[in-house]
């Protein structure tokens, strides 16, 4: 009966298709005899220019290149089109043609489409046929899209909203004034990163309402938004970077992990919002970690759901370098958490440790309540 079970597994693992593999029998060239999915797995980890170069090895590798579904026109791609080695001058026209050409080969769903627009000071208009590409992608399907604009702020191409199969979307430095009237939503979207985006009135909220399967949401440095309202019941991983005057957690019942980065470390409005979130009994929270980037430093808080006493019980703070602001932060956490039981503070770097030690001792003498 075991062989019956194994044979049931075999088609699933596509065993029949495979040749016998053994190091002593590998007389054919290495890697060419790997299964296509494995070769694809290797190639997706390489810069696209390397994959293009490898297209010249043999027919097999040319075919791999032509069917490469990870289209990454990132800065390493742009570097290849630099004019006479000047950093901020690229041949936009040639790049445009190149992307047109590469996309014209594609007729199966694209796994990844990444376009980077560099900050060319002399390039007045970022003229690229984005709409043509997006039109094609919306027809053949695209799973992951990254639009990274380091050039001037501009309107996000509308055809992004036509890419209904998107599972991951990351957009950087665009304006979204309104949603297209016929926008049906990103019904498959799992991960959304919004970075330096200017939203028209109510657009942020309506966009999120149209992502019914969203699990990961990252909001970074939104431009011109002071009140953040989050109505995202499916989101489990939330990252918020940048400052807001207020954060309103309307519906965040799926939340498992929150990471926060403040621009002004003294922004306790935001910390308050998260402390309230942590103490609300209605919300199931496993861990909240807030991470603050003061340059290379990280602060990290941890709330634990296993203590249902509605108060902060465990805090983990790492990467302390001994700055005043960090002690203010710790003090704030200590004074606002009545039942704090565990506090872990990790100081990073040996030199820094020596500097930080005396003041650490002094600061904690005044705080006797918590067990440190």
């Amino acid at each position: 009966s075991l062989s019956a079970i194994l044979s049931k597994f075999r088609p699933k693992n596509r065993n029949e298709k495979r040749q016998k593999f053994d190091s002593s029998e590998t007389n054919q060239d290495f890697i060419s005899n790997l299964p296509t999915e494995v070769i694809e797995d290797i190639l997706k980890r390489l810069p696209m220019t390397k994959v293009a170069q490898m297209g010249m090895l043999s027919r097999r590798w040319r075919d791999c290149w032509l069917s490469h579904r990870y289209l990454t026109f990132d800065d390493s791609f742009w570097c290849k089109h630099q004019i006479a080695g000047i950093n901020d001058k690229h041949d936009w026209e040639k790049i445009n043609q190149k992307i047109n050409k590469i996309l014209s080969h594609q007729n199966v769903p694209v796994q990844k489409f990444h376009v980077h627009l560099p900050n060319d000071r002399n390039q007045l208009v970022a003229y690229l046929s984005c709409s043509t590409w997006l039109f094609k992608l919306s027809k053949i399907g695209v799973k992951k899209m990254i639009l990274e604009n380091l050039h001037k702020l501009e309107d996000m191409p509308f055809l992004v909203f036509s890419c209904k199969e998107l599972m991951k979307l990351k957009i950087n430095h665009y304006t979204i004034t309104y949603l297209p009237r016929d926008f049906e939503g990103f019904v498959h979207l799992r991960s959304l990163v919004l970075s330096k985006i200017v939203f028209g009135h109510g657009v942020f909220r309506r966009l999120l309402a149209k992502c019914p399967k969203l699990i990961e949401l990252r909001i970074e440095w939104l431009i011109g938004m002071s009140h953040l309202v989050l109505d995202v019941p499916t989101v489990e991983y939330l990252t918020i970077k940048g400052d807001f005057d207020s954060i309103d957690f309307v519906n965040v019942q799926g939340l498992k992990c929150v990471s926060v980065g403040f621009f002004h470390p003294a922004n306790f409005f935001m910390i308050d919002a998260f402390l309230r979130l942590a103490s609300s009994s209605k919300i199931q929270i496993r861990i909240i970690s807030t991470r603050t980037d003061f340059g290379s430093d990280h602060l990290c808080l941890e709330y634990n759901e296993f203590y249902k006493s509605n108060h902060l019980r465990r805090v983990r703070i790492t990467g302390i370098v001994g700055r005043k602001i960090e002690f203010n932060f710790i003090e704030y956490i200590l004074t606002s958490s009545i039942v704090l039981g565990h506090l872990l503070i990790r100081v990073e770097g040996v030199d820094i440790l020596a500097k930080a030690k005396p003041s650490t001792g002094a600061d904690f003498k005044s705080i006797t309540r918590a067990q440190i």
């Binding site: 593999f21 190091s23 060239d29 290495f30 494995v38 170069q53 297209g55 010249m56 043999s58 027919r59």
Partner: protein
């Protein structure tokens, strides 16, 4: 699991293509989705016997390596705090092999559905290709040029941008 705990297995026996037997404890075997599914399936049926899983595609020297990897990762399965140590171990583990072994190991990881080992191998291969020229890749991996002169001229022309 629907079956009673009395029928849960603690060990399985895995047979390599060259007929060597390996006794593997369940936690270690579970690192491979293929083995795990075999075990789950047998447990559902309530078998008490030690099961033998023949892997007709994997030789014993490669299977030894896969199991060494699984054993290490099973040890770390419960705590992710030691990630750094495990990463270091992973790196040292792959560094030892020649490309032919790495090739077979990658195939075995794919076949046995040991996703983390497959990822590790793919990343390792990608990292070693990354800084090589096309000529070096051709030599090291012994890849034969099977283009007709016309095809080669076409692709050269087409992909010239990548060589700037």
């Amino acid at each position: 699991m629907a079956s009673s705990s009395s029928s849960s297995l603690s060990r399985v026996v895995v047979k390599s293509s060259d007929n060597n037997l390996f006794v593997v404890n369940k936690k270690v075997a579970s690192q491979s989705q293929l083995l795990k599914q075999c075990i789950d399936n047998m447990e559902e049926k309530g078998t008490n016997d030690v099961i033998l899983i023949p892997l007709s595609n994997v030789t014993s020297n490669i299977l030894t390596l896969v199991l060494e990897y699984c054993e290490k990762h099973a040890d770390f399965a419960d705590d992710d705090n030691n990630n750094q140590e495990l990463k270091q171990w992973d790196h040292e583990f792959l560094k030892k092999f020649d490309y032919a072994t790495l090739n077979s190991l990658t195939m075995a990881a794919d076949y046995m559905v040991t996703k983390s080992l497959l990822n590790l191998c793919c990343q390792f291969i990608a990292d070693s290709i990354k800084d090589l020229t096309v000529q070096q890749i051709r030599q090291i991996f012994d890849i034969k040029n099977d283009f007709t002169p016309q095809e080669e001229a076409d692709i050269k022309n087409e992909n010239a941008w990548a060589f700037r």
